[in-house]
């Protein structure tokens, strides 16, 4: 019992230290809903407005957070078939040159290939190419309810001007863990 308590204290301290060293301002694991999205973006907006960050960077961080969080609340899969919660992890870190928004969520293995193709397509395009793809996708989305997959990811790539960094970790035969890092330059 005593040992367990000590472990938790040690964990809390290590977490605090890691967060400080890496300038991580937010860590969350749990269900991602519109309420959570609103809370986190409002919190981040408030912190940014107190900083000397340019308006443009503040807006980009806010926009990218909204898209990342809404991607989870719309598209995340559960660990099993009867698990309907849209859960994920969310981290925001501030470095000397960049802000990073890191999100992770469960995805069914059968959807990995499609998502990977979308991500690779987005990463292969320049600013003009992204704009063209966005216009094409939004037109298709407007015509059908189903279309427009990946609009959020295209928007993140457009607004950050950085490649989307991602990883899939297979957890078992059914699902993988998808990690996406969006990088916003501070200058």
């Amino acid at each position: 019992m005593e040992k367990e308590k000590h472990n938790f204290l040690e964990f809390a301290y290590q977490l605090y230290k890691t967060m400080k060293t890496n300038e991580i301002s937010l860590v969350y694991e749990g269900e991602v809903t519109q309420e959570i999205t609103k809370t986190f973006t409002a919190l981040t907006e408030k912190n940014l407005s107190k900083s000397a960050e340019s308006n443009t960077v503040q807006k980009k961080v806010f926009n990218v957070m909204v898209e990342c969080l809404q991607n989870i609340s719309k598209h995340a899969d559960g660990l099993s078939e009867d698990d309907e919660d849209r859960r994920g992890i969310v981290m925001v870190s501030k470095g000397d040159d960049t802000y990073k928004i890191i999100t992770g969520n469960i995805i069914k293995n059968e959807r990995v290939e499609g998502l990977q193709e979308t991500l690779e397509l987005i990463n292969s395009l320049d600013k003009k190419g992204l704009s063209d793809l966005f216009k094409q996708q939004i037109r298709e989305a407007s015509l059908s309810e189903k279309g427009g997959a990946g609009l959020g990811l295209i928007d993140i790539a457009k607004k950050t001007g950085s490649k989307l960094s991602y990883q899939f970790k297979e957890l078992n035969e059914q699902v993988s863990f998808f990690i996406l890092t969006s990088t916003i330059r501070r200058n």
Binding site: Q34, T37, N55, K59, N63, E67, K135, G152
Partner: protein, 128 residues
């Protein structure tokens, strides 16, 4: 026609649609997850308006933030006004963007590439 006047929230915009006074405006933030629920009455209103539109419509977009789900709905709105243009009426989109906000200006330019409606781009300076 009835007037739509919706006050904005943290994640939904101010909306004014008033045929008689010629005020058409969507402003503020549009970040709802379920965009259809919020915009349904607005799209319905525009469908009704399109049956007997004013000779000239100036539609103001003055958005601070909007998510990609909203960007699809904004296109839906613009496409409805494009039909009004095709019917021989005049429509102008007044696209307001905060000075130096390239992303918001570019968003307007992308829409104007898609729809056949003239756009005016109007930079503004944030008050605070």
């Amino acid at each position: 026609m009835e007037v739509i006047n919706i006050k904005g929230t943290d994640d939904t915009p101010n909306v004014i649609l008033d045929k008689d006074s010629g005020q058409f405006e969507i402003s503020g933030r549009s970040l709802p997850e379920d965009v259809n629920q919020f915009y349904e009455q607005i799209l319905d209103w525009i469908d009704e308006y399109a049956k007997d539109p004013n000779d000239r419509t100036e539609f103001n977009f003055k958005l601070e933030y909007f998510n990609t789900a909203s960007s699809k709905i904004i296109l839906d709105i613009l496409l409805k006004f494009e039909e009004i243009v095709e019917d021989g009426k005049e429509v102008v989109i007044k696209w307001h963007y905060e000075e130096d906000e390239e992303d918001m200006l570019e968003a307007g330019e992308e829409y104007s590439d898609i729809v056949e409606i003239p756009f005016d781009y109007l930079p503004y300076v944030d008050e605070d």
